[in-house]
Each structure stands twice: as structure tokens, then as C-alpha cells.
């Protein structure tokens, strides 16, 4: 009898998933462990490998959402009869509401994006590529009006900063953008987080020595882009090892105190906010932290994270400094007990020994779940963080 391919639970809390693409066709041979289809969970899009060897006899769910456990395909010997359970009507992927056509603006018509590809490579002029790079536009989503469908500069200039919505965008009407799974998940989790009793603590740290350290580390490691975030992750990890009671996850019955500092890095990915985790930061060197961080952030932006990348975080750092934000309060990332909001480093006049000096100051705000960690503990931890930031040698 043919084996049933059922939608798997890929992570804690996963209730359903959306099949987006089959990597094999009906009639193809499949080996055990071979990638079979792609699935969009509420966190990531990933490949799912086949649990069975044989021939893909039937695809029951081509595309769309299904609950965990539902049969989506059959694999067996060629010619085998497939017990066809009544296919639950696959929920079609949410369609955008039809919006009435009005006068189309004179920007290039956004037909369904059909980027010119040759062997999977997008055809675009060097100038177009550079402009797309500078503006953060994914060139693969653009339509080329140059010869042979080549994407040229005017195509990039006409594009929006975010990838175009599938439907035509007439001017003058309100757009209704349906929530993606990821959006729904973020909404759900952060609503829960907002309901947790939290308190916030703020300190300002003098970044002089930290900046020197980062600069020197860059010199010593020319192939790795070491950033202040890496240094902060490292420093927080060291602080967490000295304040083990902050390195916890909160659950209704117990506090889970972790042996390692698994630092989550908040990333603004195109699909939404996501927090991949660098594990065991307390035992990594600064360069190693930078490499690991670069890897997960890159994969987050390319929508290539796995479920494992998102698990077991004990502490999160959210850095909005690059947007010029001086200070903010981050929302807790449950079940973690604390999250650190990092602002921009600002050259500030400070009084020192009776004179005014200009110092690079960084504002750090710690949001703490009071159910897991008390005020004094949190303050102590943050004071350690500040001390370590101002004199990184003390963290050794």
C-alpha cells in the first residue's frame, strides 16, 4: 500500500503550514531524504525531505494551507492504487480584494513580475544592478523593458522600495493587504508579550573603548565584518553568565535556566520581524560571533532560516541605532525573560573632571519580564552590561 506523506510539525507551536511548491512531479522517483516540497510555516519557508522512497504517485495538495498531519501526497510502487481520502478543500492562498480600476498612473505598468532570466540568472544591466542594490530592491522582482527583457536603470527607478504587490495598484483607493502567516504569528506572540508585566531599565554607556575594540578587531580580522552588535552580543553573553538568573525562559510552571547564552538578534527581514539565535555566545570569540551573526542575518533576509535557527533563545538584542533612533523600549520576546534595546551612538558633551568633553554615548534599555526576574536583579545585570561595554577588558 502506498505511503502517505503528511504535513509534519516542524517546530514547537506549529499548527499548520502552507505548501508553496513541489520539487518533484507526479511520476518522479523519490529517494528517502530527498527534498520533496517547500512549505511556509509561520516562521520560515523551508524544504521538506521525503520520508519514503518510491515513486510520487499523487500530489493531494498542490498548494495551500493544511493542518499538521494532513495527507498531502502518496509515495509508493508504480501502479499502486492510491486510497484517495476526500481532499479537504485546500484553502486557496488569500487573494487580495479586488479593487476597482481607476486611472492607471504613468509609472511602468506592474504586470505580474516576469524578470528576464537566462539559466536562472536575472538579465539586468550593471547600472540597474547597482541601483537595485543601493535601494534595497530585489532585482528579481522587476520586469525588464530593455532588449530581450533586460532590466535597465529606468525599470529600477520606477520600482517601489518594497517588492510590488501582485495586483495592479491604481491610485486613489485604500489597499487591503491580507495578513501573511508570519504577520499573524508576530501579532499573536507580541500581543501575548504585551500582556506580560514588564519593567524597563535604561543606562547610557561610553562607547570610546568599545569603538576602539571593534576597530582593532576589524583590523585583525579583515575578512569578517565585526559590528557593535557583535560586541554587544558578546558582552551580554558574558554578563548573562554572571547573572544566570536573567538567562532564563519563563513558562507557567517553571523558569528554565539555560547553561548557555543563546542570543537572539532581531532582524527586519522583508517578510517581517524575525529573531534568529546565535547559540553559546559566551564561548565564541568576537570574530566567531560576527561570522555567526552575519550568517543568520543573511539567511533571515533571504528567507532561508530553519526552525532550529529560531529555537532556544534566552536573550534578545534589538538594535535600531542604524536608523538614528536614540532610545526605545523593545517588546519582550517570550518566553525569554529579557530583551535589550540598543539605540544610536551619539557624540554627547559630558562633564568630566570639571571640564566638558565630547564622548560617544550609547543608550541601552532593558525590558524585563517581572514574572521571571525582579527589579534589583535586572538592574544589577544591566549595570554589569554597562560596565563591560565601557571597559570590555573586564568581561574577559
Amino acid at each position: 500500500m502506498a505511503s502517505e506523506v503528511k504535513l509534519p510539525r516542524l517546530g514547537q507551536g506549529m499548527e499548520s503550514g502552507t505548501v508553496t511548491k513541489w520539487l518533484k512531479n507526479e511520476g518522479d522517483a523519490v529517494a528517502k531524504g530527498e527534498p520533496l516540497y517547500e512549505i511556509d510555516t509561520d516562521k520560515v519557508t523551508q524544504e521538506v525531505e521525503s520520508d519514503f522512497a518510491g515513486v510520487l504517485l499523487k500530489i493531494a495538495l498542490r498548494e495551500g494551507e493544511a493542518p499538521v498531519g494532513q495527507t498531502i501526497a502518496f509515495i509508493g510502487e508504480p501502479g499502486e492504487e492510491v486510497a484517495a481520502p476526500p481532499e479537504p478543500e485546500p484553502e486557496p492562498a488569500p487573494q487580495p480584494e479586488k479593487v476597482s480600476d481607476t486611472a492607471v498612473s504613468d509609472t511602468p505598468v506592474a504586470a505580474p513580475p516576469a524578470p528576464a532570466t537566462s539559466n536562472g540568472r536575472v538579465k539586468a544591466s550593471p547600472l540597474a544592478r547597482r541601483l537595485a542594490r543601493e535601494r534595497g530592491i530585489d532585482i528579481a522582482t522587476l520586469r525588464g523593458t530593455g532588449p530581450d527583457g533586460r532590466i535597465v536603470a529606468r525599470d529600477v527607478e520606477g520600482a517601489q522600495a518594497a517588492p510590488a504587490a501582485p495586483a495592479a495598484v491604481p491610485s486613489g483607493d485604500i489597499e487591503s493587504i491580507p495578513l501573511t502567516n508570519i504577520r499573524k504569528t508576530i501579532a499573536r506572540r507580541l500581543t501575548a508579550a504585551w500582556q506580560a508585566p514588564v519593567f524597563q531599565l535604561t543606562v547610557t554607556a561610553d562607547m570610546t573603548r568599545a569603538n576602539e575594540l571593534v576597530a582593532r578587531a576589524r583590523e585583525l580580522n579583515p575578512d569578517v565584518r565585526i559590528t557593535v552588535t557583535d560586541l554587544l552580543a558578546k558582552v551580554c553573553a558574558q554578563a548573562l553568565m554572571r547573572h544566570r538568573d536573567v538567562n532564563v525562559q519563563y513558562s507557567e510552571d517553571a523558569l528554565l535556566r539555560f547553561p548557555n547564552a543563546n542570543i537572539g538578534i532581531a532582524v527586519a527581514a522583508p517578510q517581517g520581524l524575525i529573531v534568529p539565535v546565535v547559540r553559546g555566545v559566551e564561548r565564541l570569540s568576537l570574530a566567531e560571533v560576527a561570522v555567526a551573526r552575519g550568517d543568520i542575518v543573511g539567511r533571515a533576509r533571504d528567507n532561508k532560516l530553519t526552525a532550529q535557527d529560531l529555537e532556544d533563545g534566552t536573550f534578545t538584542i534589538s538594535n535600531l541605532g542604524m536608523f538614528g533612533i536614540e532610545q526605545f523600549v523593545a517588546v519582550l520576546n517570550p518566553p525569554q525573560a529579557a530583551i535589550l534595546a540598543v539605540g544610536a551612538t551619539v557624540d554627547t558633551p559630558v562633564a568630566r573632571d570639571g571640564a566638558v568633553e565630547i564622548r560617544p554615548l550609547l543608550t541601552l534599555t532593558l525590558t524585563v519580564d517581572h514574572r521571571a526576574v525582579d527589579g534589583a536583579e535586572g538592574a544589577d545585570f544591566l549595570r554589569t552590561v554597562k560596565t563591560f561595554v565601557e571597559d570590555p577588558a573586564l568581561a574577559l
Partner: protein
């Protein structure tokens, strides 16, 4: 400003140089009484006499070689090679001797020789009287190469060539000789390695030399009517080449066409395209176009000759391809 034809401008440049410096003299075939096969040196014999305006036998090797020797011994000779095609006969002296004496001697010598020649298609000269060979000469370290396209440029660059301590090959073109142009009252030397913006524009840069500068101007006027704004840059000297200015222009317009009368394949335009591609890679919105002669010797029959050489229409077509109109 006074006006001179290209031919008159060359003559004036030679005459002024000879008046100013006794070590300047000119030799070549039929340049004395006849005044040169293209009439460039008319009148010079009368002014300067047979010692300094020398008819030579038909001996391109010796003409150039004697020029080399006289230059090494402290003169500033100008030798005329009647047709660019005959450069081939003197190439050994130009390439193995003139270009290399300074280097091989470890810097002890200079060879301040100017070789003037003319070439190009027009009036069915046939395959052996019509070539454009600048690509060969720019490939030789030790030589300088100029190819002026206007009376002002040819006079100014000829002066600089004569007074440069390196061997210089200066290309003229037969169809340019009658072309009139304004020249400054006082001769102004033009430095090597400085291109000239012939026409300003924003959509595409046409880099052209010799007669193609003028054909590009025609093409640009037509393109203007279609809303295409064409910038034309004339490098004027091919070695040294004003890469900086060419690259800056292409970075501004994002598109390039390189045009010369010489055969396109493996020509000077290929080098310019490579330079632009390398230094302006992220600024290119279209592949670089090259305009030149088709890959054939030059046929005699006028219809065939016209078919092979590049015209304004070819430049215009190339311009259109770059902007995609």
C-alpha cells in the same frame, strides 16, 4: 578667429615649427616642388630651401631610419609617409628601433621623431591605399600616437609632436584635408592625453576619432530630433589616452559608442571598450557599441567601398541600440 583648412593647418604647424627652430626639418617622397601628394607641404620648399625640405627616394625604411638617426643626433625631423599603408614598409624601424632605443639604452637616448602620414577611404583608392592602422601603433610601448580631427587640433598636436622627445606617429585623413575650421590666432600647443568634448549630451557618449568625429556630429543631430541627447568626445591622442575624461563621460551618460573608420574587429575601439567596461562597469546601462569598417580589405568599386566603411547612419544605429529606441 581665423579659419584654416585642415591641410593649411598642418602646413602652418610645420612652417611655424621650422621658423622657430633650425633643428626642425622635413623629408618625404615628393614633398618638395610638388608640395606632397596631398599638397600639404606646398610652399615650404620656397621658404626653407632644399636642405630642410628634402625629397627622398622611395625608401620608407631609410626615410624613417634616417629620421631616427638625425633625431638621435639632436635634430627634430618630421618625416612624411605618403600613404598610411606604406608605414608597413618602415615598421621595422618604427617598432624595433625608434620605439625601443630609449628603453634599451637604459634611458640614455631620446628619439624626438615625428612621423606624419595619411590614410583612409574615399574616391576608391583601393585596398592598398586606404587603410587605417592606428591599432597597430598604439600597441607598441615607446610610441605616441595622435589622430586629430580638426584644423585646430591638428596644428596644435603637430606642434606638440614635434617638440615631444618621443617618437610620435600622427595620423591625418585625406577626407579631412579640405575641412575648414576655426583656429586660434596664435598657435596653441595641445597636450597629449587630453580629450575634447565635441558636443555635450546626457543619454549616450560617442567616442570618435578622425572622420568619424564629423559623422558622429551628423548622427547626433538626427538623434536629437528623436529626443536622444548625444555627447561626443574626441580623444585626439590615442597614446596616451585620456581615459579619465572618457570614463567620466560614460559614467554621466551610462551608454557608450566607440567609432573609427578602421576595421572594427580587433581595432582601437576594442581597447576603449575594455577600458570603459572595466572602469565604468556599474554605470553601464547597455553593452558598449563599436562602429567601424567591416572586416574586409577595401574594395575598389564605389558601391562596395561605401558599403564597408562606417557612415553617420551606422553611428546613429549604434546610438539607438544603446538607448533601446
Amino acid at each position: 578667429m581665423p579659419e584654416l583648412t585642415y591641410r593649411e593647418a598642418v602646413r602652418d604647424g610645420i612652417a611655424q615649427a621650422m621658423r622657430a627652430d633650425d633643428s626642425v626639418f622635413i623629408m618625404g617622397e615628393d614633398i618638395a616642388e610638388m608640395g606632397g601628394s596631398m599638397g600639404v607641404t606646398q610652399g615650404l620648399l620656397d621658404e626653407f630651401g632644399p636642405e630642410r625640405v628634402r625629397n627622398t627616394p622611395i625608401s620608407e625604411m631609410a626615410i624613417v631610419g634616417a629620421g631616427i638617426g638625425a633625431a638621435m643626433a639632436g635634430m627634430r625631423p618630421i618625416v612624411e609617409i605618403m600613404y598610411e599603408d606604406f608605414l608597413t614598409l618602415s615598421l621595422e624601424q618604427i617598432v624595433n628601433q625608434a620605439a625601443k632605443h630609449r628603453y634599451m639604452s637604459g634611458g640614455q637616448l631620446t628619439v624626438p621623431l615625428t612621423i606624419r602620414t595619411q590614410g583612409g577611404a574615399g574616391w576608391s583608392p583601393g585596398a592598398q591605399h586606404a587603410q587605417q592602422l592606428e591599432a597597430w601603433l598604439v600597441h607598441i610601448p615607446g610610441l605616441k600616437v595622435a589622430y586629430p580631427s580638426t584644423p585646430e587640433d591638428v596644428r596644435g598636436l603637430l606642434w606638440t609632436s614635434i617638440h615631444d622627445d618621443n617618437p610620435v606617429v600622427l595620423f591625418e585623413h585625406r577626407l579631412l584635408y579640405p575641412v575648414k575650421g576655426e583656429v586660434p590666432e596664435q598657435l596653441e600647443p595641445i597636450p597629449f592625453g587630453k580629450a575634447r568634448v565635441v558636443r555635450e549630451g546626457t543619454d549616450v557618449t560617442v567616442i570618435a576619432i578622425g572622420p568619424l568625429v564629423h559623422r558622429a556630429l551628423d548622427a547626433a543631430k538626427q538623434a536629437e530630433e528623436d529626443g536622444i541627447s548625444v555627447e561626443i568626445v574626441d580623444p585626439r591622442t590615442l597614446q596616451p589616452l585620456d581615459e579619465e575624461m572618457l570614463v567620466a563621460s560614460v559614467k554621466k551618460t551610462n551608454r557608450a559608442v566607440v567609432a573609427h573608420e578602421a576595421v572594427t574587429r580587433m581595432g582601437f575601439g576594442a581597447e576603449v571598450a575594455a577600458v570603459l567596461q572595466h572602469q565604468a562597469f556599474d554605470y553601464l546601462d547597455a553593452p558598449i557599441e563599436r562602429v567601424g569598417a567591416k572586416f574586409t580589405p577595401l574594395a575598389f568599386a564605389p558601391v562596395m567601398e561605401q558599403y564597408v566603411v562606417p557612415h553617420a547612419e551606422d553611428v546613429l544605429a549604434a546610438i539607438r541600440r544603446t538607448v533601446g529606441k
